[in-house]
């Protein structure tokens, strides 16, 4: 076992497991699990409430996570980091928080490759406000047609919501260029980036992207479940309306009205997943120590693509820009492919991967997705190919 794999208890226990579903959730390193246990064993109390020592310790650790996240993603100040339950919640917070900005006839721009989490909140916002949803199309090489931005963006465009990395095609969208083009036409446009598939695999510096909001999930960067981050520019966060009201987010509460706390507390009503937020520290330290795996993942995916191309009847959907590739074995449903791979110890995702609009564009109902993480190796390619050959044998394709 290599020095990466042996940091993951689940891989130690399942030596033959080929895990190819990091796009859904990354496996969790020992250190992350230990940090969670440290919280639950040593100071399992609420934050920002008690003056007693244990509560201070929990609060300190929680705020340390905020500082570490800010530094990790290149945020200006740690108060620009809002802890959420995940990417979906972060995006919904922005969609609701700027609702009043959207007027009838306005436009919201998304792309065809969006995950439902960065599509449905905007669809709903458009419906509520009488706005129109427009799409940046994908090209035959599975990259976005950026040149269409010139005609798609106008004064009417209030929001541009886009993924940094596609969860189905592995496309790495040129966010900087997209933001520059969009803001040149309309400087007032709010750019919201879904970074769920990016943060755990490549260096992300939000201050260099030019976007206004960036949302991602802890569990897709080797961290705990149930915690995510929304980063936003300070000025915009101050302007954004909170969507959850209650404890911890107020400044003063009167009988008939209340005022809000400053950011970030304004957006963290109720009790967050404190232990999980604290566990995120170790995910960051893990990535800093081991480095980002994008290049290695890309190498494996390219090797996989070339081997798959030698098989007949396999359709491949990937821009080959990250560790994600989706495929269809013609005449065989994706569930059946995944089932047969599963029986060979290969874990892949089958279905529409929360991207039904994209699957319509691709002209297939569903697909099999291979998404890599830091623990994957070139040998995994052979396992996949063996599995696909078995699928073809069983289904006589």
């Amino acid at each position: 076992m290599n020095k990466i794999k042996n940091q993951f208890p689940v891989l130690e226990k399942n030596k033959d497991l080929v895990y190819l579903d990091s796009g859904a959730s990354c496996l969790k390193p020992k250190k992350v699990i230990e940090k969670l246990l440290e919280y639950y064993r040593k100071y399992p109390v609420n934050i920002h409430r008690g003056v007693y020592e244990m509560s201070s310790k929990a609060s300190e650790e929680y705020e340390r996570s905020r500082e570490m996240v800010a530094e990790f993603i290149g945020a200006g100040e740690s108060e620009e980091i809002i802890f959420t339950s995940g990417t979906t919640e972060g995006i919904n917070m922005v969609a609701r928080g700027f609702e009043k900005r959207i007027k009838k006839g306005d436009e919201i721009l998304v792309s065809e490759l969006e995950h439902h989490s960065n599509l449905v909140p905007w669809q709903e916002l458009a419906k509520r406000r009488g706005a129109r949803l427009k799409y940046i199309k994908i090209k035959r090489n599975f990259k976005l047609n950026i040149s269409d931005l010139d005609t798609l963006v106008s004064e009417k465009t209030k929001i541009l919501a886009i993924a940094q990395v596609s969860n189905v095609l592995g496309t790495v969208n040129p966010i900087k260029e997209i933001v520059r083009k969009a803001k040149k036409i309309n400087p007032g446009i709010l750019v919201v980036v879904d970074g769920a598939q990016a943060v755990g695999h490549m260096e992300v510096k939000v201050n260099e992207l030019g976007a206004d909001f960036y949302a991602f999930s802890g569990h897709k960067m080797y961290g705990p479940m149930g915690v995510g981050v929304l980063w936003g520019k300070k000025k915009l966060l101050e302007e954004m309306e909170p969507i959850n009201f209650g404890g911890g987010m107020i400044s003063e509460v009167g009988r008939d009205g209340s005022s809000w706390a400053k950011i970030p507390e304004k957006f963290e009503a109720g009790t967050r997943a404190v232990g999980e937020v604290i566990g995120l520290q170790e995910a960051i330290l893990f990535l800093k120590k081991e480095g980002f795996s994008l290049d290695k993942e890309k190498r494996i995916i390219r090797k996989l693509k070339s081997k798959l191309s030698q098989l007949e009847g396999v359709k491949i959907f990937s821009a080959l820009e990250s560790g994600i590739l989706s495929l269809v074995v013609l005449g065989v449903h994706s569930h059946d492919v995944a089932e047969i791979l599963n029986r060979k110890g290969v874990a892949v995702r089958s279905g529409h991967h929360c991207a039904q609009v994209l699957h319509k564009v691709l002209g297939v109902e569903s697909s099999v997705r291979i998404s890599l993480g830091i623990y994957n190796e070139e040998e995994d390619v052979d396992k996949i190919i063996e599995g696909i050959k078995e699928v073809k044998r069983i289904f006589k394709k």
């Binding site: 449903h333 059946d336 029986r343």
Partner: protein
């Protein structure tokens, strides 16, 4: 592995006996949330008894074979009896034991009939 993809399942997947649509039949549709696959069933009833049944839609071998075998079984049954059927009966017809995820595939046809 060949247990799951037994000949009967692969055969029903490739050559279903009950694929199609019945004119003026009672219809219902249901989707598998996991993959978005949809099955639509139309049934023709005479005095509350199912005389014929057909299905449309696409899906995996398990869901397609499951619905095709189910439609064989329900002919001659009352719809009210069909609605009381348990998923396990479908597994029995298929001659396999399924994992929780695949049960959703196999039971999809029955879910459609229950909506009628």
């Amino acid at each position: 592995m060949d247990d799951l993809y037994r000949e009967i399942i692969l055969d029903r997947y490739e050559n279903p006996k009950n694929r199609g649509k019945l004119k003026d039949g009672k219809e219902a549709l249901e989707a598998n949330l996991m993959c978005g696959d949809k099955i639509k069933i139309s049934v023709k009833m005479v005095k509350g008894v199912i005389e014929d049944a057909k299905f449309e839609g696409g899906g995996c071998a398990i869901s397609m074979a499951g619905v095709d075998l189910l439609l064989d079984k329900i002919k001659g049954m009352k719809l009210s009896e069909v609605k009381k059927m348990k998923g396990a009966e479908i597994e029995k017809m298929m001659g396999v034991e399924l994992t929780a995820a695949r049960k959703r595939c196999a039971y999809l046809g029955l879910e459609v009939l229950k909506k009628m």
